[in-house]
Structure formats: structure tokens, C-alpha cells
């Protein structure tokens, strides 16, 4: 858990005035948000997909300004949006993540199939521990619970793709391939989720 520091309450900053919050969503994001809002009875229901839009717009993570912008656009309180965002592990609140997020499943099946060996190899190769980002800002390594892909154990989730079963020998090649990819997998993942949300209605109609 993140530690909070004791300090003098008199020096505590005030929450920003909603009218002063800088709105940075691109025109496309604003259009997407408007389309999303038609899916729900009220703005509160749209918090999760809007956070995905914000995560894409703010470069793969949610700085406080992103939380504030979502709160202002949905007319909810800042604390409520921050509470929702910190509840879910796929929103990266506060701290930036690398272009590529490598998540190692260490649940039972993957563990039996050697997930820790894979994890150690990744740590050694990237020089970081779980929850850390490489200095060049390319990779973030995370340990996650079951990815629901036990048939492919041991499995990695690399941003928007599942890779598995992996063995140690493939790691080097994977890292090199990702390093040469100039795009950001984390932003791509957010974008795909936003697109899926936008088309959620159509899929229901087809069924």
C-alpha cells in the first residue's frame, strides 16, 4: 500500500475549483465520451469507460489531472472518481507505466508450470522488480493473479496480448521485439477497450 505522509493540516492544498480544471481530452475523445454517455441512464454509470478514455489520453496512466478531468466531465466529485480508479488494478493511478506492461501470472497453474522462473528471468533481463518501471520508460513489470488462461500456462499478458505458454528461452526475443516496437502497448490496450465499449450496443443487437 502507498504510504501517506504526516504533515501539517494547515498546509494542505485545496482541491481544484471545477472551473479551473484544465480539460485536455482530444476532440475524438470528447466525441467518444458523448457517444458513451448515450449508453447509460446517468453520468455516474459512465465512470469506468471514461477512465479508460482518460488513461489513453493521458499516456497510459491516470495522473491526478486525469482524475480531475473525468470528475469535471461527468460532474462527479474528485474523491469518488479517485476511489473508483484506485479500486481496479488495470487503471494505473498516479504513477506512469512503461510503453509495454508485462504482467506475469503467478497463480497456481502458471506457478506449477514455472511462472517464477519466467519472472526471475524477466527481472534479471530488465533489471527491475515487480511494480517497477525501467529507467528508459519502456517496460513495467507486474505480478498478477489468475489471467484465466491456465491452458496456456505459464502465461504473460503484454499490454493487449496474451503470450503463452512461454519458456525462458523466448524471453530475450520477446523483449527485443517489444523494445523495437515504437508504439505504446498500454495506450493501445486502453484504445481497444474504449472501442469495445463504444460498440457494446451493436454487439448486443446482433445477438
Amino acid at each position: 500500500m502507498e504510504t501517506i505522509h504526516l504533515e501539517n493540516s494547515r498546509g494542505r492544498p485545496k482541491a481544484p475549483n471545477p472551473e479551473q480544471v484544465e480539460l485536455k481530452f482530444s476532440d475524438q475523445a470528447v466525441q467518444e465520451l458523448e457517444a458513451l454517455l448515450t449508453h447509460y441512464p446517468d453520468k455516474k454509470s459512465a465512470i469506468l469507460p471514461t477512465l479508460w478514455i482518460a488513461q489513453r489520453e493521458y499516456g497510459g496512466y491516470l495522473p491526478p489531472e486525469a482524475i480531475a478531468e473525468v470528475a469535471v466531465r461527468l460532474q462527479r466529485s474528485y474523491a469518488e472518481i479517485e476511489g473508483v480508479a484506485t479500486f481496479y488494478t488495470m487503471y494505473h493511478v498516479g504513477h506512469p507505466v512503461g510503453r509495454h506492461l508485462i504482467e506475469v501470472c503467478t497463480c497456481l497453474t502458471c506457478q506449477v508450470c514455472g511462472a517464477y522462473r519466467i519472472a526471475e528471468r524477466l527481472k534479471a533481463k530488465l533489471g527491475i522488480d515487480f511494480g517497477e518501471t525501467t529507467e528508459d520508460g519502456v517496460f513495467t513489470l507486474e505480478e498478477v493473479e489468475c489471467l484465466d488462461a491456465c491452458d496456456r500456462a505459464p502465461v504473460l499478458q503484454v499490454s493487449d496480448a496474451y503470450i503463452g505458454p512461454v519458456d525462458e528461452a523466448e524471453i530475450d526475443a520477446l523483449i527485443e521485439k517489444l523494445r523495437s516496437d515504437p508504439g505504446s502497448g498500454t495506450i493501445r490496450l486502453a484504445d481497444e477497450i474504449v472501442k469495445a465499449q463504444l460498440h457494446a450496443n451493436e454487439q448486443r443487437d446482433i445477438r
Binding site: E2, Y78, A79, E80, G83
Partner: protein, 711 residues
């Protein structure tokens, strides 16, 4: 709770073998109280929606079958989220319920630090009590407990002890459901879940103090009260808060002659059980070390302690039969009895009509106020009625600052049944977030905004052609027309007298009254006072009347030498009057200045005589709040030093000037008030037990329009 209102009717349920009828949809946790039994709770609060987070209220539940047998549910249910329905069977004292409660408490206590000996809540803690009655006597948890920040200041007033939090969510729900600012939320999840503000910004809610009271453990504590006392060392007495004119009921906790803390006291007619921060944390002045304790008389530029008779002698010499050369100004925290006796003294012995209790920039005379120009009463709506309004127009300063309890009720009306609220203000207000329309005008343009909205409202209505014609110059824009949609039917108007502090305040009030009269909503018009007993002062006639001088004229009179002697009763003009220079000139120039005060103030520097008087907690007296509810405050501790209740002081002075039968009790003064003004009849002292008594509201003389303001 919501289903209760929708479907009236009773259902028969069985609790621990006793059959009883309860309203359909009533929560089981409430029904059980009807039998004098209790289900232990943490997260449930009767004034908030149930969430079933803590699982402390688990009960066994079954349904009575047509053949008379009972079919029990396989698992226990949370009593706080279970609505009563026909044939429900509830068991609250079986072996398994007792075991469930013990289990829940054992889990809650796993991470609770048990630092009760140093915890502010110790002695009045629901967790402590429930553990004593329902919990295990020892723990099986031997591992290391979680360690988190122990004293994290969320704001100047609220300190968070994260280790003690049992994650019931009462504080989070309070800011979301009741106060509406939603400044607290749960961050993270599981064992790491913490109630916090956004990015640890300041918890600057106007109602933040309530989260301290509703916290069922010592996680949220008052920064001021922290480590000051144990609850069993305190003397707790009922009292009424005088920080604004709402007159909330409070518990006043004191120890060794010092005010220690204020807690909300249940009064469904006024404050339910809430307090605002101004009331909860604003009573520190009672503990000020330099409160005047003896009469002081100026001798060669120094105020020196004196005895009462010398002070009286000087006062009588300067005031008796002073006629128009003497004047009196009054503050807000003066009881009805004191005000009445002050007025009698001025009228009968000083023969002076120069009295005023108002400090706003605009001081409407008898013929200029709402009553004078429009023939309607200033107040028509009681505080509790606000929670059932369907449409309201809120004008002026922030309603949550001026009338916190009206704000909470209005918000409840919006939350319960979607009341439509239109806000017209110069600055952002608390009510904006639930208002269906907000009209934000420039500083000093309040009158124009009200006039434009009036024009838009009248476009939707028949009649009031004269007013419509007078409003021609004010063309409503799209925003005004959208706001007017909310005011199509009956609507309530609320504005506070603080609007008179604005240059266009008088015109704004008049325009609002015109709108109310023109749309047949005069019976729903309200112009509430702001100072604690401003309403009492207005009703008792502590104002210039027809011939006297008002506050401005008195201050000018002091500067010009027309006023020789001035009496300041419980007021500091430097804090109240907008023009400091004028106050300074007035107090420097007036020949004889009496400052009668319970707390040290700036005006004392200029005083000829300083008279110590009792604060409201030191003397019996009654106070009239915005809904004309007269509430009695009883003396809680002895006066400081030689201080006297003001009415007693006035009585003694009057006896010096004209020996007659003395007055011994404030109740005698109330009888005299009633004899003079029949509308005070409900406020006889024997009627004031409990929540006080209400004087009549909405005494209208015949509503009329006043068009000249639009020219």
C-alpha cells in the same frame, strides 16, 4: 426506507416469537427497536441509506408458510438491508446469531489496534460496546497487525487514525448523501481501503464535523478535542447553538469551566442530528482567557477595574433622559429577555428611540422592508418543511453558509423526490451541484438576474400583467427560460438577510417578493435572518421604528457629535460594519461609550465603561430562530468573575433611575413580553421544555407589488 413512503400499509412479522405489525418495507433493524430489543450495528445509520457493509446486524430469517410452519433461510441475513414483508420471521438471539456476531467482531478486531486507553472514542465507542456485549473475550489472532498512519490531519478540524478504521463507510456516505460535497471516498480495496480526500487535499466541507460524530470507532477524531478529555469526565448539557440563526440543538460538553466540544443533539424539527462546522468548532471564544470579569472604567486613558455602583453612576449620568443624544447597538447573540429589557430601558428611562440590531449595508425602515412594501411576512416556511418542497428558488449568498439546516433539508428534498432548485448567485455555492439550473451573475448584478428570471417565469403564466409590463426592460435569455421551466408551478423562495450587505440587496429582495406575489407564491416566500437572535430582535422591536436612527445614522451621529453616548451590547462594530474607518471615527468621537460584552473585542479600546456580561451558556434566556421557534437555553456554568446576565444589569439600572418592583427571573420578562405582544403567547416558559415553541409565521397584511424598483 424509500419503499416505506411509496407503499403505506402494515405487515405482520414475527421477531423472536413475538408477532407485531410494522409498516411494510420498514427495515428489520428498525422493527426490532419496537420491541425494546436491539441489533448491534456499525455501518447502519437511520438517516442514511443502508449498505450492509459491516455484517454486524446478521439475523436469522425465515418465512411463515401457509400451513403454519416456518421455513428458515439457510444463511443469516443483514438486518439493516432487509425490509419487513408479510409473514417474515426474524430470530435475533439464537445460538447461531450469537456465534455470527462473535465471528464478525473477531474479524473486525483483527486489524483494530485496541489502543482504547488513549483513544478519544474510548468510553463512548460503538465498537467497544458491541465487543463487550456481543464479542469474543479474547482473540485467536497472534500475527502482526497492520500498521498505518496514526494521526493524519484531513483538515484543520478532522484527524484520521487509519489503523482504527473498520471501513463501515459512514463518513463516505455522509459526505455523499447528506452534505453533498462527496469530499471523502474509499480509496484502494481490501485491507488497504482507506477513506480519504482526493489527492489528500483539504477536507473543507462545511459539515465535516459530523463525520467525527458518526464514526463508530475512533478513526475520525476532532483535532481540537483530541486528547483533551475522556467522555466520562465531561459534563454534558443540552443547549442551542447560536453561531447562526438556525438554532440547532446541541450537546454542550464542558469540564472544569471550559467548553470542550459540541455535539449534535437530535431535534427533528430543526437540525435532525447534524451540526455545521461553524457551530461545532466555533465556540472557542467561550474559553478565551481575557474575557472581561469585572466592570472597567476609563481613568486617564487606562481601563481600570471598578465596582458596579460607580459604573452604574456614570452610566446613569450620561444616559438618563438622554433623548436623541443617546443610542444603543445590539449584536446577534442576545436573548429575547435581554433585548426586551434593553429596549424598555431605552424607551422608558433614556427616552431614546435610537436602537438597532442590524449591521448590513442596507437597513430598510419599517415602510421599506418586505412587510412595508409588499404587505407579506418575511418568513412563511419552517425548516422541516423544506424537505417536502417540490421547487425552490435560492438567491444570494451560499445557502449552506447562511442557513445550513435549510440547505440540508432542501438537498434531502432533491434526493428523495427530485425537487427542482434554481440558484441565482454571484459566486459558486454548495447548492449548485443538485440545482436543475444555476444562474451565475456578475458581482453586483443580482437584481438584474432576478428581474430577468422573473420575466422568464411570467412568460409561462397567466395574470400579473402589470408586473410583466414593468419587467419589459429585462429580456430573459435562453438560460433564464430554461431555469423558469423548473418554476412553472408552486415554488418556494429562500433568501437570507445577508443579501442586504450587497449594494443592490434591497432591490433584489423586492424583486423576489414581486415574483412571489405575482405568481401567487407569496405564501412560500422567505427572507431569513442570519444572526442568532436577529429574528427575536426584529419581533421585539429593537429597531429605530418610525422616529429613531438606524445603525448608519447612529454611527454618523457619533462622528458629527449628535450622539453623545453610545451603548454597544454584545457587538463589535469593527467586525460587523463594512466601513472600518467610519466605526473608528464614530467610537473616537463619541463622548461616552459603554461596551457591554462577554468576550474581548476591539471596541473595548475606545470604551468609557466596559460591562462584563454573561455568555449564552452562563445565563437562562430564550432565543428566536429563523422559523420563529423560541428555544430556551439554560445556564450551564457560573458567570466569569462579576459578570451578570444583561437583563439583570438593565433591571438594576432601571431601579436606580426609578425605584419600582424588581424582576428576579427571566420568566417574568417573558410574561411581560407576552403581555405586550400577543404573538409571543406560545413562548411562555412552561411551554418551552423540549424543542421550544413556534410563534406564528406568514402573517400577511395583503400582498402587493412594488414596481418602482424596475425603473
Amino acid at each position: 426506507m424509500a419503499s416505506l413512503a411509496q407503499e403505506p400499509g402494515l405487515v405482520t412479522i414475527t421477531i423472536d416469537g413475538t408477532e407485531l405489525q410494522v409498516p411494510k418495507g420498514e427495515l428489520v433493524v428498525e422493527s426490532v427497536k419496537r420491541l425494546g430489543r436491539e441489533i448491534p450495528i456499525f455501518c447502519y445509520h437511520p438517516r442514511m441509506k443502508p449498505v450492509g457493509m459491516c455484517r454486524m446486524c446478521l439475523v436469522e430469517v425465515g418465512m411463515k408458510q401457509p400451513d403454519g410452519t416456518v421455513r428458515m433461510m439457510p444463511k443469516p441475513q443483514a438486518g439493516c438491508t432487509l425490509p419487513a414483508s408479510d409473514n417474515l420471521v426474524v430470530i435475533t438471539d439464537s445460538e447461531s446469531v450469537i456465534a455470527d456476531r462473535r465471528g464478525v467482531l473477531e474479524f473486525l478486531l483483527i486489524n483494530h489496534p485496541l489502543d482504547c486507553p488513549i483513544c478519544d472514542r474510548g468510553g463512548e465507542c460503538p465498537l467497544q460496546n458491541n465487543t463487550l456485549f456481543y464479542g469474543p473475550s479474547t482473540t485467536r489472532y497472534v500475527e502482526v497487525k497492520r500498521h498505518l498512519p496514526k494521526a493524519f490531519p484531513l483538515s484543520r478540524h478532522v484527524t484520521l487514525d487509519l489503523e482504527r478504521c473498520i471501513q463501515c463507510g459512514r463518513c463516505v456516505r455522509f459526505t455523499e448523501e447528506i452534505s453533498g460535497d462527496a469530499q471523502l471516498a474509499f480509496l484502494f480495496r481490501g485491507a488497504a481501503m482507506t477513506p480519504r480526500t482526493f489527492e489528500l487535499t483539504d477536507l473543507d466541507s462545511k459539515f465535516s464535523g459530523n463525520v467525527i460524530e458518526i464514526c463508530p470507532v475512533g478513526a475520525l477524531t476532532s483535532s481540537d478535542y483530541r486528547f483533551r478529555a475522556r467522555p466520562w469526565d465531561l459534563e454534558t448539557r443540552p443547549s442551542t447553538c447560536l453561531e447562526c440563526a438556525n438554532g440547532c440543538s446541541v450537546w454542550f460538553d464542558h469540564r472544569g469551566g471550559k467548553m470542550v466540544r459540541i455535539n449534535g443533539r437530535v431535534n427533528d424539527a430543526v437540525n435532525e442530528e447534524w451540526t455545521c462546522d461553524k457551530g461545532k468548532f466555533g465556540h472557542g471564544y467561550l474559553n478565551a482567557p481575557d474575557r472581561p470579569a469585572k466592570p472597567l472604567i476609563r481613568k486617564e486613558d487606562v481601563l481600570a477595574a471598578a465596582d458596579w455602583s460607580t459604573a452604574y453612576q456614570q452610566i446613569v449620568a450620561h444616559f438618563e433622559d438622554g433623548r436623541t443624544a443617546v443610542a444603543g447597538l445590539v449584536g446577534a447573540k442576545v436573548s429575547n429577555e435581554d433585548l426586551f429589557q434593553f429596549k424598555r430601558m431605552f424607551h422608558r428611562h433614556f427616552h431614546s428611540p435610537n436602537l438597532d440590531h442590524r449591521w448590513t449595508r442596507i437597513l430598510p425602515s419599517q415602510t421599506e422592508g418586505v412587510r412595508g412594501l409588499h404587505g407579506i411576512d418575511e418568513v412563511h416556511t419552517r425548516i422541516a418543511e423544506w424537505e417536502s418542497v417540490n421547487a425552490a428558488l435560492v438567491v444570494g449568498n451560499d445557502l449552506a453558509s447562511d442557513q445550513p439546516m435549510v440547505y440540508l433539508r432542501l438537498r434531502k428534498a432533491w434526493q428523495r423526490h427530485g425537487a427542482k432548485v434554481v440558484v441565482i448567485s454571484e459566486r459558486p455555492t454548495y447548492a449548485d451541484h443538485f440545482a436543475s439550473a444555476v444562474i451565475r451573475c456578475e458581482e453586483g448584478k443580482l437584481f438584474e438576474a432576478v428581474a430577468r428570471l422573473s420575466a422568464a417565469v411570467l412568460q409561462n403564466r397567466e395574470g400579473a400583467d402589470a408586473l410583466r409590463a414593468a419587467l419589459k426592460p429585462f429580456a430573459p435569455d435562453a438560460k433564464d427560460r430554461a431555469a423558469a421551466e423548473a418554476l412553472k408551478g408552486e415554488f418556494f423562495t429562500v433568501c437570507s438577510e445577508s443579501v442586504y450587505a450587497k449594494p443592490d440587496g434591497g432591490k433584489t429582495v423586492s424583486a423576489l417578493a414581486n415574483l412571489a406575489v405575482g405568481t401567487d407564491n407569496a405564501q412560500r416566500f422567505n427572507l431569513y435572518p442570519v444572526g442568532a437572535n436577529d429574528m427575536g430582535a426584529a419581533l421585539l422591536g429593537v429597531h429605530p421604528g418610525g422616529q429613531g436612527m438606524n445603525t448608519r445614522e447612529i454611527l454618523e451621529g457619533c462622528i458629527q457629535g449628535r450622539i453623545k453616548s453610545l451603548w454597544l451590547l454584545e457587538c463589535d462594530p469593527f467586525a460587523l460594519w463594512h466601513d472600518h474607518q467610519q466605526v473608528q471615527d464614530a467610537l473616537e468621537n463619541v463622548e461616552f461609550l459603554v461596551v457591554q460584552t462577554s468576550a474581548p473585542n476591539q471596541a473595548m479600546q475606545y470604551a468609557s465603561v466596559v460591562l462584563p456580561c454573561c455568555a449564552h451558556v452562563e445565563a437562562d434566556g430564550t432565543y428566536t430562530n429563523i422559523e420563529r421557534r423560541v428555544q430556551k437555553i439554560e445556564a450551564i456554568w457560573r458567570p466569569k468573575g462579576d459578570a451578570k446576565p444583561s437583563w439583570k444589569l438593565f433591571t438594576e439600572l432601571m431601579l436606580r433611575m426609578n425605584p419600582s418592583r424588581p424582576i428576579f427571573e427571566p420568566s417574568e420578562l417573558m410574561e411581560m413580553i407576552i403581555a405586550e405582544d400577543e404573538s409571543f403567547a406560545p413562548a411562555a416558559y412552561h411551554n418551552l421544555e423540549g424543542n421550544g415553541a413556534c410563534l406564528p409565521l406568514g402573517v400577511d397584511a395583503g400582498a402587493q407589488l412594488f414596481m418602482e424598483i424596475y425603473q
